[in-house]
Amino acid sequence: MTASNEYNVLWLQAASCGGCTMSLLGEGNAGLVEFLKTFGINILWHPTLSEESGPEALAILEDVASGKVRLDALCVEGSILLGPKRTGRFQMFSGTGRSMFSWVSELAVLANNVLAVGSCAAFGGIISGNSTPTDARGLQFLGDQPHGALGDDFRSKSGLPVINIAGCAPHPGWITEVLVSLSRGEFTADDLDAFARPRLFADHLAHHGCVRNEFYEYKASAANLSQKGCLMEKLGCKATQASGDCNFRTWNGGPSCTNAGYSCISCTSPGFEKAEGFLKTPTVAGLPVGLPVDMPKAWYVALAALSKSATPDRVKKNSRSDHIIIPPRRGESQN
């Protein structure tokens, strides 16, 4: 299944829910298989898609490990479990007698590029959300610290660190657009942010393009989920702090999280799983703790007070309703 001019991808599922793969399967109007063909991407083996099982699958992995088959990109989905005591035994790669930690460590150094697909592989993710014996890590990070399974110094053969396609689950476009850019030789260190996330999505905030933007501007806040108002002040929304172009892509042909009525939990951020009470905004002295990412507090207070006093009646009433009750019209009085 290998042609030398194709871009060879091997995909492994570490301690994952499989959700990144499920997301990936939604790529391309003609379907993922056609999409991959278009860009000359060859899947050496994928646990969900490939025919090869058991010894046939192992033969492919061994060909990669021995260098017989070139590995252009190793995609890892899920956290790496180091426990107990760095043995990795909480995830044994079935049929091999070896831990997934051991397999990923061996194959990563052979890959031209290593992609951490999803926030688990990138930063440890949801299963590093409380103390458990698994010692779950990302490939190069644990939360925002460089304590990942492969170590801070790891560089793939291309010289890049692990590329962190964060998100829980990430948008399928984030995964495929990075893979295709890599295969075309168009992806460099400049295309990564400080947490090695591709800037093609990380240069934006999830807030950008939110359908609730008018409510945000006036600090007209929803009191309960399902209401139309801004979710930041009371309902835990972190879209003004979270990296992602979520609100100018469609998700399964539908809206993003905030447009579907629930708060952004910043699933592209390292350590997002550590929050307490995700759907409630923590406040100190009446002020939300998590202010927009680069906004000085004094300005936030001043602008919030000003905008609240200027809120049109329409915006105020709609923000507390689960349907639009007052449509926009000319000449509405400002009160």
């Binding site: 599922q13 044994m92 689960d322």
Partner: protein
Amino acid sequence: MTRLIVGPFNRVEGDLEVKLDIKDDQVEAAWVSSSLYRGFEQILEGKTPGDALVFAPRICGICSISQSVAASSALRNAMGLEQAPNGLLATNLLSATENLADHLTHFYLFFMPDFARDTYGDQPWGEAAQKRFKAMQGEASSYFLPARKNLLQLIGILAGKWPHTLAIQPGGTTKTLDQGDRVRVISVLSEIRRFLEEKVFGDKLEAILELSSFGELFSWADNQPMEQGDFRFFLKIAQSLALEEVGKTSCDAMSYGTYDGLFPQGVWRGEVGKLDPQLIAEDLTHSMMIGDTRHPSQGETFPDLDKADAYTLCKAPRLDGKVVEVGAYARQLIAGQPLIINLAHKSGSNVLSRVVGRLIEAARLVTIMEEWVDGFKIKEPFCSHGKMPDEVEAVGMTEAARGSLGHWLHVREGRIENYQIVSPTTWNFSPRDSSGISGPLESALVGVPVIADEKNPVVVQHIVRSFDPCMVCTVH
């Protein structure tokens, strides 16, 4: 006697290893092993109850909505809340969409590609099966994946992101639909019906749902050439390989019930009986878990990888001490679907009946979804709201695509004191219990013929995949 270890077992969701003792060219004993532990129950301990809605769906990327439904229903029961009727409809539609997507994904991506293996090249249907179902190359992956994407638009419209939405709340859903949204839902549903009728069944859904016996099913299959619909294609293969005799189990079948009782709760023991959830208990004898047999409301999850006589991280749930099988076949049996009842009486649970159960359910779901969408009163609320008590115990029970899913919640001083999850594949792929009785898959594998030098017996793959296992749910 020789021992065969089959793994990595792919085209199942998650990590699975199967050990087989082979004697006289057949499987004498089987051990099924789940080899990944993530610790969701331990993670949830001490969290505020509402945060279960963030963590629970992330147990599983393929049945994420089902996990959300179980968690939100445990929270709703804890709060003593009623769902807004629109929210109930939207939740049911979301759940049915995911079930449908799972059934079709199983059929096209996980199960059928095994019939396109070179092993079957000499069969009269071998070449045609390769052309259509070869993994990543066959025509089916080119027409199924766009159809799947289209289907998931229903989740997009009703809940935004998938997997892992927060739209499903205890009191309903966060996305209020407007007139336009409803039309889009109807439009997508009509495209799904067309896909099922043109590609999957090669016939009207109503005609499929009228088939009521093994005989009718196979004479329907004989009426047209096998290329006419992938279900017919499967039935022809099933006939030629006698799949109704492969992977048989003889245990009871169970459903927790879902869709507000439309698929009811019950146990099948040759006829439908009542299910008493108090009789559920998890046996840990051969599981790498410390503790004694307990009802999930009192359950514990403490892994011990070095425990003697333990060979899997999966627990062994039992109902009144007995093994039960769960899944679409069990659900349709208990829901009184005539064809499935006839298959059960004729040959019980086997590879054929499990696959037919799933596809018949898929046809049924589409017709039910078409009715639900007319039930929305779009000017009324989609979500009700309530308060979580500081001290409470509750359970959320539902049916995921793969079978019965339960979340048992205990809240103390406003925090999660204990959260125990029993998932469908935990029932189906459970290890031996304290009486040495095997779970459904282990017993389905016993007696299966295996040729001496076969390293990766294809029949074993058919049997394992016929359960559509979700290993990430199994041990969470």
